[in-house]
Structure formats: structure tokens, C-alpha cells
């Protein structure tokens, strides 16, 4: 009897801190993006004005796809979608990135650093690589778009832009 009481007591004692720890594991900003991810989905990959970035984190097996639609006249990103299979931080990082780059020029979008993403989402050091993945994804999408345009127009300007990226 006493034994079972102690057991129940110790179990309830353990139950509480563990839920606190679980709730604390992610910063509220990460949880917000994770629960209401922005711009989830896909754009038409074969659209000539859509650039697709596909990157992975080999250590954990995450995969992230980020797509941008660019208005050729203004050179600005007019639409952006992402799809990430990974942890909460990877999802939040890519979700944040899509919000951040909408309306930006390719140059500005390509200059966003992972440290900005990590700072905004308050990622702990062990999750920094998730923000790096988001940076790699936008860069990869921009490169893909430039490659496509260069191939379509066949101009030297396009080729230079792609080579310098």
C-alpha cells in the first residue's frame, strides 16, 4: 500500500517537470511558425519564372524545399512557398524565410544570413544548422531561377548573374 502510494506520488512528481521541459524546448516564436506555418505548399516547378531550391541536412535527414516566383520586370520575389520535412526548428526557419523574402529583390534575399533567422527565432546553438538550411534553400532557389533565365534568354548577362551567384 505504502509502496504504491510512493510510486504514484513519485510518478506525478516526475510528470509535471517533464511537461514543463517539453514546453520549454522550443521558443514560442518557433512554436508559432510550427503550428501555423506560413506559405506551405508548392509552385509549378516548370514555370519559367519559378526557382526551386532543394536542400538537405545529412546529419539528421531533414529535407527542405523552397520555391520563389519572380516578377521579371521588377526582379522582385512575388510569391514564395516551402515544404519541409524535419524538426520544428527546420520548419520554423523555412516558414520565417518565406515571410522574410516576399517582395524582396533577389540580391537582398540572397544576402539574408542564417544568423538573422536564428536570432529572430531564438534558436539554441544545437539548432543553428536548421537556420543554415533555410539560408542554403533560398540561395539554391535563387540560383535555380537564374540558371533557368539564363538558359531561356541565352544571354551573357544571365550567364554572368548565375556564375557570380
Amino acid at each position: 500500500m505504502l509502496r504504491s502510494t510512493i510510486f504514484t506520488a513519485s510518478r506525478s512528481l516526475f510528470a509535471k517537470p517533464s511537461t514543463v521541459v517539453a514546453a520549454r524546448f522550443y521558443h514560442p516564436k518557433v512554436i508559432d511558425h510550427y503550428e501555423r506555418p506560413r506559405n506551405v505548399g508548392s509552385l509549378n516547378k516548370s514555370d519559367p519564372f519559378v526557382g526551386t531550391g532543394l536542400v538537405g541536412a545529412p546529419a539528421c535527414g531533414d529535407v527542405m524545399k523552397l520555391q520563389i516566383k519572380v516578377d521579371e520586370a521588377t526582379g522582385k520575389i512575388v510569391d514564395v512557398k516551402f515544404k519541409t520535412f524535419g524538426c520544428g526548428s527546420a520548419i520554423a526557419s523555412s516558414s520565417y524565410m518565406t515571410e522574410r523574402v516576399r517582395g524582396m529583390t533577389l540580391e537582398d534575399a540572397g544576402a539574408i544570413k542564417n544568423t538573422e533567422v536564428a536570432k529572430e527565432l531564438c534558436l539554441p546553438p544545437v539548432k543553428l544548422h536548421c537556420s543554415m538550411l533555410a539560408e542554403d534553400a533560398i540561395k539554391s532557389a535563387i540560383n535555380d531561377y537564374k540558371r533557368k533565365r539564363a538558359a531561356a534568354t541565352g544571354t551573357a548577362t544571365g550567364a554572368t548573374a548565375s556564375a557570380s551567384a
Binding site: Y34, L54, P58, A59, C60, V63, G86, H129, S140
Partner: protein, 192 residues
Amino acid sequence: MTVVCMNPNCKVVQALTPGANYFEILGLSSEPKFDLEAKDLRNKFLRIQQQVHPDSYSQNINGDQLYAQQQSSLVNKAYATLKEPLSRANYILELLGVPIHETESLNEPELLMEVMEARELLEDAQTEEEVEGLKEINNGRIQQAVDGLSKAFREQNLEAAKALAIELQYWIRIQNVIRDWAAGKPIVADHV
């Protein structure tokens, strides 16, 4: 190096040997080897674990119990690592100086495309039968990667082994999602 004194009259648990690798700890040759006999490994593990189980040293003569606890925990870790092909491959790569770093980014469009498609099919799956079909395909991928790893390690082609270990990491993640799959339950984040 053994975890317990070899003298049959002594059998005292030894202090941890610094630098001993998991192969040695489980009584194998210290030479890292990918091809292991699962049954043999398990038997070795059970035998050693029996020798060092902390409960056998509850009287705590000469601090034996502390050593037993340390050895027992290390033996568990060694077995858990060497038992699974993925963690075994990663561990060997680490020992041989070509580990997969957290900060590495993968730029293998073909592999990533296949992973993305596999994940999307799994996300869209509605029935057990569909998932069962995807599981079979994925098991085939796992088998192929493990066979490839075995060959790459035998040929000491570490670059190929690393690429295959990364590939296997992706298939194992999909396997875990399949294992946790339940109809109507959305798959969002699948690890922490």
C-alpha cells in the same frame, strides 16, 4: 582490454579504459568492421552485461559498484551503436576520421528529389495498404544502402561509405515516420 578482470579468482570490474572503442568494449577486434553477425554481437553483449551488472556489486567492495555502473552504461551505449547499421556506419566513419557534420548541407538533387517525393507520397497516404506499399519500397532502399555500405567499407572506399550513410539516414527517417503512421494523423515534425 576487458571490462572484468580475466583472473577467474578475481573477476573484479575494471575501471574504464580510456580510448577503448565500442568494438573492443564488446569483445571484438578493435579494427572497425561494418559486417557484423547480429546474433554473435547480441550474445557478446548479454554476456558482458551480465558480468558488469551493477546489481551484482551491491555490496560495493572497493568501489566496484561505481565501476560496474560506468561499464554497464558504456556497454549499453556500445551495443546500441553497433547494433543498427546506420549508427554503426556513422560510428565507423567517425573513427576513421570522416564523420558527417551537423553543419553539412546536402546538395544531391537526385537523392533529395527522391526523398521529397517519398515524403509527399507518405504525407498523402490515406490507407494502411498505401502505407504498406510505401514501406516495402522503402525497405528495398534500406537494404540496398546497407549492402552498398558493406561493400564500400570492405573496399575501404570511405567517400562512398559516407554518401551511403547519408542516404541511409534519409531512408531510416522515412521508416520511422512509417512506423508512427496512423490514419488521419498529420505528419508534421517527425523529430526534435
